[in-house]
Amino acid sequence: MPEKIGTSQEQSGKSADAHVDALDFDQLVEEAVHGSDQAFTLLWRNFQPRMVRYLAMFTNEPEDLCSEVWIKIATSIKSFQGDSKAFKGWIYTIARNAATDLARKKARGGTSVELDESDWIGENSTMVEVMDLVKRLPQEYAEVIMLRVVADLDASEVAEIVGKTQGNVRVLTHRGLKQLNEMLTMGGDGR
């Protein structure tokens, strides 16, 4: 069943976007694959904030890394084959690989990838605290939680991205949420 993109209706200020508003997500992906700049722009507006949030788990400059990810997406979108569901998993796989490469480079350089609160100016401080708690979780726990909560992917899609089974993803999600819940109830000192 095609998924409607709610943001395109909210961002229909331009006349050029009016044509794309009526399109469902599958048509949007198809047009973007065939080289439509309007469809690609709408997809970018829909996925960019969530992707930045997801990449914030890996780096202190998620916007820069997200721009690199979208450049890669635009470069190789013509070779994409699949529906809208596969498209979501595809772009987050690209984002995850880019984050992994960046983390590897920073690990070689000896720089830390710990979250800095100064990078979250203008955001809700409570959200910063929650993100700090999520980053304190083990990497595999935090990643599946972010993919399922922020990227809004189900267990099967996350399993394809991280290379695990659905059951394993469910278990990792449960363990992560349980540990996060313990941190919240203990005031952030749950470790």
Binding site: A32, Q48, R53, W70, V149, N181
Partner: protein, 265 residues
Amino acid sequence: MSTNGDFSLEDSEELIANLKSGKPSDFQQLRSALNLVAHVTELPPTSIPPILPSGIAQPVPIIPVKPANPRRTIVTSVIVMGMFASASLAAAAVTGIGPAPIVSIGHQTAKFVKGVAGAVSNVVTGGNADTAVTIPPVPTVPSVTLAPTGNEESSSDNSNNNEESNSESLKVTIPLLPNPLTTESKKSNEGKDGKSKEEKSHESQSPTQEDSTPSPLSALPTPSIKIETDHSENDDQTSPSISKTPSLPTALPSPIQSDDSSDDD
């Protein structure tokens, strides 16, 4: 639904599912936290992506590059190889370090260049370049092969035929050697030239045959004759028998004859 202390796998899945629907559930603190993380600020409608597919699809202008000219490539490679070879040979000749063939070739090349340079310098300074270059390889041949008396021009002719291929200077020295040297040269000829005594005795005992054969001295170049006669005249002064050589006046040009007459006087 479980309490906060008993958080099961089903609870976690239900919690995630209720985040989308907005249904209230237990674990309110965890749910609100996840809502905070999941809530994102939408981008303004004027925002544009960092790059568009149409921007990538534009062909990159290719800088025209001239194809390699094969002729120029060959010439350049030959020049470079020649420079490298000459440098390696020069280094091997100077230092003597390197593979033996290269060192030997380097030494030979150095000798050749030295000889050519000497010849050129002789030509420039007015000296005789041919003698400077060609005499050193055959230093002893004239004293060995040239033992003709005036009566033995035929045998000397045979020896000259063998030596004509070497140099013209040998032709000149043949008639100018004094007669007393003929005995020594005969001995050496018997050993080296392989000529039998019978042949030479026959040649010496038949002067009539010599008269019938044309004198080889008539074909000799005049400038070299002048040089050799000067030396022979100086040598002849020590030996009175040289003045008896009969064939010289016939072959010598007139200036030489005048010199001889003046010396005799």
